[in-house]
Amino acid sequence: MNQPNDPTDDRIDAASDWCLQLADGRLQGDAHARFQAWLDEDPRNRAAFDTVARTWQALDASPTAPSLIAMREEALSHYARRQSRRWQRPAGLRRPLWAAAAACFLLAVAGVGLWFNLQPEIYRTGVGERQLVRLDDGSQLSLDADTQVEVRYSRDRRQLALRQGRARFQVARDPLRPFSVTAGSRTVVATGTEFSVEVLSAQVHVILYEGSVEVLSRDAAIAPAPPAFKASQSINADGARDLRLVPGQELVAGLASDGARVRAVDAVRTRGWESGQLTFNDEPLGDAIERMNRYAGSHALAIGDAASASLRISGTFTAGDNEAFIEGITGIFPVAVREEGARYVFVQLPDRPTPHDTATVQ
């Protein structure tokens, strides 16, 4: 079966190459497409990859088997011998000294690097300000006004935290370093995908635009998996709290609580803020005001009573144009605006009958 020039051999060669690239985390970018093309080329390629991957895994099954232990010990002592030989060069070459000096220098540099890594990088926008940020790995952040994001990158994780406001994340694919964004009680975990996270009136909003994300309750992301998680047949023993979104869906969850709901959204409109358009779709006036306030100049908007807080509004407004917003809302709803210090406060008009409890403004 294994004659020279047997195409099976070539397949095994290629499959071994793919296997090693996968194992080393070096299969990235275009390589995925080439791997896929190779798999689809011929069912025998798939079979070859299967054989190689099984072989690779079989070595993991019992690394402490006596026959393997002997070889591991040999390999390690071989490695140790070679290591020590490198450090015992003839003195004339002065290599050990140079090497030692270089090693000290590297350690010092690594120490400084480590210290820097522990400090998160903070990106912040002020009222009325938007910002685009490109991170080291090629991921991009688009920050809404009045927003703060902390970024911590380490060798095997990319951890971000949204402290306030809203941001859209375009994640560069890196299978070895998962990308996560924490906001309140939720952690969104993703690789190679696009989504936004927003903190709004004690709730977290996650909208997925592309790829897939997993929204974990924060405890699940930090604490070890509970025993039930390991023992139960379904990995989703925690399923009530951990959710997976598909593109075009929005998850809304309390900042501190477990409850969450998922709904479909208009992906294009929800991205309007990036071009200065704020679209509301049957949302409480309070939420709309909080978003408008990210752009408010001298006068912020506020809610004055429960009746106006309970209004649900729909419509598109220009970020920063609070006058038009006030006009639009007071023109449709039985509410008025009072000036209180540096704020415009919405209150219900006492005498007028309520025509509808919801309406659309444009």
């Binding site: 996968l22 995925h32 798999l39 099984r54 099954a61 088997a65 591991r72 299978p175 690789t191 047949q233």
Partner: protein
């Protein structure tokens, strides 16, 4: 410098990737056929592993492949809504026939002896590099430094070892 084979330190994400990614891909490819889906589900296994404290994580093969089988089952349940019932029922069935299948474990033990003797047949340097990489989880650059060669030379040795072992397994 490591001197004993037993290394109980918590596995790094890189280590887990090296140990399990190829086989997870193969596992999902066997059952799904679509590369992209297999890639997504493989990724999901690692996302879930990453969201757990690595220090206390169960990184055993059994745990990881049970997780993989469960993801596959969850997926087929989701797909059931949209796709043909028979296909998903079959996927469900396949998901339970996972890598924990006792007959496969027994076969694994037999083939381990085959693997050990196949490893013995390799030239010493090739075998040493492969064992250091695959079983001691050393970085290929560290191996290259010890052998005073380049990482790409180490890659060639690793590939040669892999091909030899896979052929032995394929023949069995």
């Amino acid at each position: 410098m490591p001197s004993r084979p037993a290394t109980p330190a918590p596995p790094s994400f890189e280590q887990l990737n090296r140990r399990f990614r190829p086989a997870l891909m193969a596992f999902f490819l066997r059952r799904l056929g679509h590369h992209a889906e297999a890639e997504d589900l493989t990724q999901e296994v690692f996302v879930r592993l990453a969201s757990v404290d690595t220090g206390r994580m169960d990184s055993s093969e059994a745990y990881i492949f049970r997780m993989a089988a469960n993801l596959l089952r969850d997926r087929s349940r989701r797909e059931k809504v949209r796709f043909d019932y028979r296909a998903s029922a079959q996927a469900d069935e396949q998901a339970s026939f996972d890598l924990l299948d006792p007959s496969r474990v027994a076969a694994g033990r037999q083939s381990l002896e085959g693997l050990a003797s196949a490893l013995r047949e390799l030239p010493e340097d090739t075998r040493t590099m492969f064992v250091l990489y695959r079983l001691e989880h050393l970085d290929r650059r560290d191996i290259a430094a010890a052998f005073e060669t380049s990482p790409s030379t180490v890659d060639r040795h690793l590939a040669r070892a892999m091909v030899h072992l896979a052929r032995r397994m394929g023949d069995a």
